[in-house]
């Protein structure tokens, strides 16, 4: 390891010391991983989904294992933004002062999203927002905000108006044309995009003839979805000007490098945290090692560097 690698990357005005961040909902707000991970080494901590009021989440069972993946229907259970500030943010301020905190925002209506952001604007420890537009839009019959360009742009524009902090919009992969959604969101003022959220899936227990999840359907994550995620990151990164945070099945440094080559400026580690609580550190070390081995002086040089 002769050369030293510049690992920093930028998501709009947000500078990260390295490209490895956590995927929302798989790392809580960091505290649970403190025994395994030096959270100050993370590029950023993306928190679990935070809503205006407490959400109870879905009935159990909430998870099911599938081939190289898992389904979840946690349902964004969270105690609401006030409790988030009091507990999670307080812990982060004390234990991860140097690590940018990106709050993942959930909502069932445009007002919900804006409400969370407004509440957090006065909290100096919040570095950026990641708006999860995969949430069901209750005003519009429950289809997710993220499956339709106009709705996706509406949420984005409203959040944009509520903050000058970096605004990342997280896209759902359950769409015909991810590039169209990405472009709408970019036009509506997003500073960055993150993708992919989970693929809608289902599992059945043949013996009992029942769905494995109480909610019947849930979100598929893990290595199984990596090919779909890479394809979408590649398509989107070529089509938009703003940076992309790539995720979907990243288990090690090589996976992370693949996402960067496809066009991701940063990468998020999700399901891998359950497989190995030290996964974020392994991914970071793996990317660094790759850069050394390939003589890459700035990790940002990998972004979109896919050859033909």
């Amino acid at each position: 390891m002769s050369i030293s690698v510049n690992m920093s990357v930028r998501l709009g005005s947000l500078e990260l010391s390295n490209p490895v961040v956590t995927a929302s909902g798989t790392f809580a707000s960091g505290r649970e991983f403190a025994d395994f991970v030096d959270v100050s080494r993370l590029g950023a901590i993306v928190t679990k989904g935070v809503s205006l009021n407490p959400w109870p989440g879905n009935a159990s069972p909430r998870i099911a294992e599938t081939a190289s993946g898992m389904l979840n229907s946690i349902g964004l259970q969270n105690p609401g933004v006030e409790a988030f500030v009091a507990k999670d943010l307080a812990w982060l301020v004390e234990n991860a002062a140097g690590t940018p905190v990106i709050v993942n925002v959930s909502g069932h209506s445009v007002d919900d999203y804006v409400g969370v952001i407004e509440r957090l604007e006065c909290e100096p420890s919040v570095a950026a927002y990641e708006v999860n537009i995969s949430c069901p839009n209750v005003d519009e019959g429950g289809m997710s905000f993220g499956t339709e360009c106009v709705q996706a742009a509406r949420v984005t524009a409203a959040c944009r108006a509520a903050t000058r902090r970096p605004l990342i919009v997280k896209l759902t992969p359950n769409v015909t044309d991810i590039v169209a959604i990405a472009s709408s969101v970019e036009a509506a003022g997003a500073d960055a995009l993150s993708l992919i959220n989970t693929l809608l899936g289902m599992a059945i227990d043949a013996e009992s003839r029942r769905p494995k999840l109480a909610r019947v359907v849930g979100g598929l994550s893990g290595p199984a979805i990596k090919p779909v995620a890479l394809r979408m990151v590649w398509e989107v990164a070529r089509a938009v000007e703003i940076p992309v945070v790539g995720m979907g099945g990243i288990m090690d440094g090589t996976d992370a490098v693949e996402f960067m080559l496809a066009g991701a400026t940063a990468v998020a580690v999700g399901t891998a945290n359950f497989v190995d609580p030290t996964a974020t550190m392994r991914v970071l070390d793996g990317v660094t090692e790759y850069c050394h081995r390939h003589g890459v002086e700035r990790v940002a040089d990998l972004v979109g560097a896919l050859g033909a």
């Binding site: 909902g25 798989t26 790392f27 809580a28 649970e32 991983f33 025994d35 395994f36 109870p56 989440g57 009935a59 159990s60 069972p61 909430r62 998870i63 099911a64 294992e65 081939a67 190289s68 993946g69 898992m70 979840n72 946690i74 259970q77 227990d205 009992s208 494995k212 109480a214 893990g222 290595p223 288990m251 399901t271 945290n273 359950f274 497989v275 190995d276 609580p277 030290t278």
Partner: protein, 271 residues
């Protein structure tokens, strides 16, 4: 005494022994010095059974006993994960664990007389507790239940450390015929217990909790839930309590029976 919790860690393990000890039940001993040194009765380890990517979730297992640098796991072969465990040869180093995890059994400060109730594999998290209670001079009675004689596990351990062991099987092939609640009713009527520890199928735990409550004994139960992370982050393992949703992996798996709002839909599909 209150059980103190130690920091969990990721630890590579080596298989020291792995034998079939009852119908569909294996006992595996692992070299896991870090975990063995600090694990408390009722805590569990989250075991990665496959390095391949096909089975990505870890499997949670109670630690049945811990001695020196060794922990023992009593496991029932249910699905692909436990099948693979059953195939691990002595010397295998392909697995790792995260542990010790969770909140184990609590021994009230003044406990003098305890009752342990097991149903089938429910004996697994109670082995270490029984040994430690006995070593601490707590008088111990045990009621063991199983579907049939061939599925009765850990009897020798309990007979070694308990004053009294009552056995029942659903089919009467060993001990008394019927559910374990039969002997429990009798024991609770005959003796006074400071604390009742129960582990087994959730309906059994619920029934035992009710019986304990009726005679005014505190009761602790160990609950199983599907677990992804095992460390409190994912919220897949929720348990309804009178104090809201709690996480089986960090707030449990052992709960005070009074706080639990029994909800069959939360229990894993198998066991």
């Amino acid at each position: 005494m209150t059980v103190s919790r130690d920091k969990p860690a990721l630890e590579r393990v080596r298989v020291l022994a792995n034998d079939r000890i009852a119908q569909g039940v294996g006992l595996m001993a692992l070299h896991a010095p870090r975990c063995a040194a600090t694990i408390q009765p009722g805590q569990f380890v989250h075991l990665r059974v496959s390095r391949g990517a096909d089975i990505i979730l870890r499997r949670p297992f109670s630690v049945h006993r811990a001695t020196g640098e060794r922990i023992e796991i009593l496991y029932q072969i249910l699905g692909e994960g436990t099948l693979r465990i059953a195939e691990k040869p002595v010397g295998d180093t392909s697995m790792d664990l995260v542990g010790p995890l969770g909140h184990g059994w609590t021994v009230p400060n003044d406990a003098a007389h305890a009752l342990i109730v097991t149903g089938g594999l429910g004996a697994a998290p109670l082995g270490m507790l029984a040994e430690q209670l006995a070593a601490a001079g707590v008088a111990l009675s045990v009621a063991m239940g199983a579907p049939t004689a061939q599925r009765l596990v850990a009897r020798e351990l309990f007979e070694r450390v308990a004053r009294r062991v009552e056995v029942s099987t659903d089919d009467g092939s060993e001990g008394e015929q019927g559910f374990v609640t039969g002997p429990v009713v009798r024991l609770l009527a005959e003796e006074r217990f400071d604390v009742v520890y129960a582990c087994g199928p959730e309906p059994m735990q619920r029934a035992v909790a009710k019986l304990a409550c009726e005679v005014g004994a505190t009761c602790q139960v160990s609950l199983e839930r599907l677990m992804a992370c095992g460390i409190g982050a994912c919220l897949s393992c929720v348990v309804s309590t009178h104090d809201g949703l709690k996480r089986a992996c960090v707030d449990g798996p052992v709960f005070s029976a009074e706080e639990v709002v029994w909800d069959a839909s939360q229990t894993p599909p198998k066991h």
